[in-house]
Symmetry: C2
């Protein structure tokens, strides 16, 4: 899927407003929630149930990567994902827990 | 300042993504933090130290009102503000505490 290896940013480098903006989107909330329900590295990029085209999906993954919420690795033709939950929780305590609450949608 | 009385929305009517988007802005974070440091109804709209013009400021106040974070009342020629902290905390536990942390900017 990917031409070059994805760049990652650690959550400790991320301003609060940027982290909030990354989570302030229904598609990205869905991605984060599906990742939270899966094992690390279980989910390839094409496996998410979101109503967006491939280019838009790549953008959403990039936004999550850029706030330190997502780690990605290429294996063969696929890109696999891990939610960086401990790192993100350490920087922004409670924020991811709130984002996972579907009862607040 | 205001022609008509402001409309309010209770936080319990607000989706999570909308609340996150309202706080994902440096000017609105400053408004919320200044309000959190003041007494209820202490601050009129013109008293905040933010680098935006009056029309933009009115927009930011409206966004905060529309997620149930801000209550406003007109008294004479001035509009006064109260942070709806208990109501917002009940709906989104921990989110406002995080927003008040200037060390995460």
């Amino acid at each position: 899927m990917a031409a070059s290896a994805p760049e990652h940013i650690h959550p400790r480098e991320v301003p609060l407003a940027t982290a909030l903006a990354a989570l302030a989107d229904p598609v990205r909330l869905t991605l984060v929630r599906e990742l939270a329900a899966a094992e690390d590295w279980e989910r390839p990029c094409g496996s998410f149930d979101v109503p967006v085209r491939k280019a838009a999906l790549s953008h959403h993954f990039a936004v999550l990567r850029q706030v330190g919420l997502l780690e990605q690795r290429d294996r063969g033709q696929r890109r696999y994902n891990r939610l960086r939950r401990p790192e993100f929780d350490e920087r922004f305590p409670g924020l991811l827990d709130l984002a996972l609450r579907t009862d607040l949608d």
